[in-house]
Symmetry: C2
Subunit: 153 residues, 2 copies
């Protein structure tokens, strides 16, 4: 009897851990990403700047080399504030890997104009870390989906 | 006295945890990546296939959308076996974030021909997870550094 109760307790604990380690943070991370993208859509680059950690590292197709650190990241994105507008965006196939204080979100992103035409397609990987109780982006990798210019290996 | 001993014990435990949670896995992940790249250099795509987890997700510039699952990943890379050769490669600025059973490695990669000219430049993000005691790649994002074709936001 005691053994069974212990087994039930074990299952309950594992269930609670799986809830807290996967579903909760995963949904929270996706929500944070969407909030930053909503601001980005209106040219507000500060959604991503505020969400970034001090030690963020960042790739995008305009950079010759990885960009490191929030100060540099802010100096890079800041001048774009309100310089663009995206009519509509769509997150495709979001997938999240979570492990306590680290979370990795990856998805495809399509941007559209007001006529419903796709203006750009992106591959995105966002790595989040829980720092002082808040999820922050520590690594971000944005690339164009199937850019036309292709080199060999 | 007991309090001090407990404090020393606490510091020792934290020191051991930091050793095992950061430096060790970080170096191990970088070593695994280099081993797979050494095989890749000679057209052996199975280094990365063997290193991948069953639930791997994968971005590269040839794909219209993210590729999911080891079976699909193998079917995609397999036909490239021994179809290419890279004379020399160089990993630039490797950075690793580790947290117990998750590790994120990001770096720039330059490939060279025998004359020492750069043939391609890459941005790479590799997400590793410890599964059954072994580090496996669960997410991989490869993109060309500053590809010539650029679209707007």
């Amino acid at each position: 009897m005691k053994k069974n109760l212990f087994k039930i307790f074990q299952i309950f604990v594992l269930f609670c851990i799986s809830l807290s380690a996967n579903d909760g943070p995963c949904q929270e991370i996706l929500k944070l990403e969407k909030t930053a993208l909503d601001r980005w859509q209106n040219g507000d680059v500060y959604g991503f700047i505020e969400l970034s950690a001090e030690n963020i590292s960042y790739f995008d197709p305009s950079l010759e080399i990885r960009l490191d650190g929030k100060r540099v990241f802010k100096a890079y994105l800041g001048p774009l504030f309100k310089k663009f507008k995206i009519y509509r965006y769509e997150i495709l196939n979001p997938k999240i890997y979570c492990n306590g204080s680290l979370g990795v979100l990856c998805f495809n992103l399509h941007n559209y104009n007001k006529d419903g035409a796709v203006t750009s397609k992106w591959n995105s990987t966002e790595v989040y870390q829980k720092i002082d109780g808040k999820w922050k982006i520590i690594h971000s990798h944005w690339s164009k989906t199937k850019p036309k210019t292709e080199n060999k290996q």
